[in-house]
Symmetry: C2
Amino acid sequence: MNDNKNRYCVIMCGGVGSRFWPYSRTALPKQFIDFFGTGRSLLQMAVDRIKGIVPEENIILMTNAQYAGIIAQQLPQLRPEQILLEPARRGTAPCIAWSAWHIKALNPDAKIMVAPSDHLILKTDEYGECVTRAFEFVEDNDVLATMGIKPNRPETGYGYIQVGDHLHGDFMKVKTFTEKPSEELARVFIDTGEFFWNSGMFFWSADAIIRAMRDTAPDIAAIFDGISDYGTAAEAEAIAGAYPRCRNISIDYAVMEKAPNVCVECVDFGWSDLGTWGSLYDNSEKNDQGNATQGCKALLFNSSNNIVSVKGDKVVVASGLNDYIVADVDDALLIVPRNEEQKIRIYVNEAKTKFGDKYI
Amino acid sequence: MNDNKNRYCVIMCGGVGSRFWPYSRTALPKQFIDFFGTGRSLLQMAVDRIKGIVPEENIILMTNAQYAGIIAQQLPQLRPEQILLEPARRGTAPCIAWSAWHIKALNPDAKIMVAPSDHLILKTDEYGECVTRAFEFVEDNDVLATMGIKPNRPETGYGYIQVGDHLHGDFMKVKTFTEKPSEELARVFIDTGEFFWNSGMFFWSADAIIRAMRDTAPDIAAIFDGISDYGTAAEAEAIAGAYPRCRNISIDYAVMEKAPNVCVECVDFGWSDLGTWGSLYDNSEKNDQGNATQGCKALLFNSSNNIVSVKGDKVVVASGLNDYIVADVDDALLIVPRNEEQKIRIYVNEAKTKFGDKYI
């Protein structure tokens, strides 16, 4: 085991996962669910994957206060000070900023990996090697590194990273970050070989990300520079006052698209963003008609390319459904075309307005 | 009150209602369900409608043994001898034959109305008048009378009766009974003005139906002629041995299409066969998009002409559904096009084979 005491892993697990409703509920978002029935939630798997690479005491969870109880239950080995409770939802930039200022106060030499808690990774050995190389690269170079996943299909649900000059090994300069493309454009991306999926995983030194924040998002940096209580009992109260003043913005918009020293490690370890029903469909076993029934008791007639997911012991009989998501959980039923999965968030918000929080 | 002691009403309530799955379940078919949330089941409403016209002690329920408990609960005023338990499912002809032989033994002058238990009737006053006229007509004439409903649309889910010569008042000779027509043919039916919906309600004297049975279905008549214990404690045992020997056949095929003295009372009292989802859709309030949501918490986007029915406190979010039935009850979910409702029975049977009885 190499000396890894300066390595930290920040796992973001405060999202509500509304695009995965009704499985993902505000009270129990998808990262806390044992999605594949393996006995481990997505968050537990994220911790399992990293704990041989980063000392367990250097794992920091960023989450919302309402999930503190669930996390204590799922990860009893973590000490309370490893769990930072965001007092408001402000997107990934303020969340990552807090983690950086906090960790820098604990260890000025810290190198930080930032990881979402709701991804699926199939080849964990290769993942471990890639993560280790990324830590080594940011230990040796003053860069903000992201992981780009080699695409295996023209996916329209992910953002893409276009790579530029070669740096070292699998590390390349970033030419551009792109929004989710149309299918036509996604095909072009694949054909060029220059585009990789934006995984939302990042590596940097505490110093490098703080400097980049001061440069590209000075308003947010100023808020965290104004706090001197990191790592003390007074930190939570200071954050409670300061954090809500941050604007709501993602780390991609706030920093990655603006900083000059951004690079990407091009990897391929069987990754999927389980952020959407479509990605679950892609990762599920399908029958000859392309129906993924998640092991539930479903009988589908004249139906193809659907994902059917039903909680509990329940029979589904359907006919004439093509390319749909059917998801049934207790007091909520969702039936939408797979190509509308980006709208689920909007639909669910309307349902929340109309019927109340309890179903969402 | 006129002297009505010879009037009997046979209510058939032994069906499993598989076309109305998953609301209608083998353990609790639709006739026992409080469908409209009025506090009365369809069967209770059928009894309520008739009890001012026929003495309550002359109401006879024909049902399956497994429903004896439900009936005792829903209709505690009926004596056990008013409930005849069919030892096997054999269609309407054997069921009606048993009722006729049984009632004839109780009262040789009996006039009998046969009614399904799962119909919706909106104008109960007019219904009562039509029923009374039908009793009077079969008291005065040696006929087998059925009720034909004036059609208000080219419904393809019902059989039709073509009327012939006028007899008296609203009573006409029957020219033909027809199967469920195509939509094109149904339109022709409506345009001619000669076709009425076959309601499945019948009126006759015990004598007339027994004579007709001996003539048109002698094998069935012979089985019931072979029993001499009607109205005694030995009846059930005799039926248990004899009834299963009857072939499975409807009263329409066995008698009505063959007997020479068949007539129809042409009526219009807001009738619907609640045998199918389509008929429930027709009888439900709809929004501007033609969606009938049965008062449930449904939010439908880009969707029209659906019927959504969900039991319990549950939210439905759907998109891109047109002309569908969505029905969710506890451990069963049905999603099929409305124009496939005649196939639901087949689908449900397959589900029974595949997943077992408990969901059906």
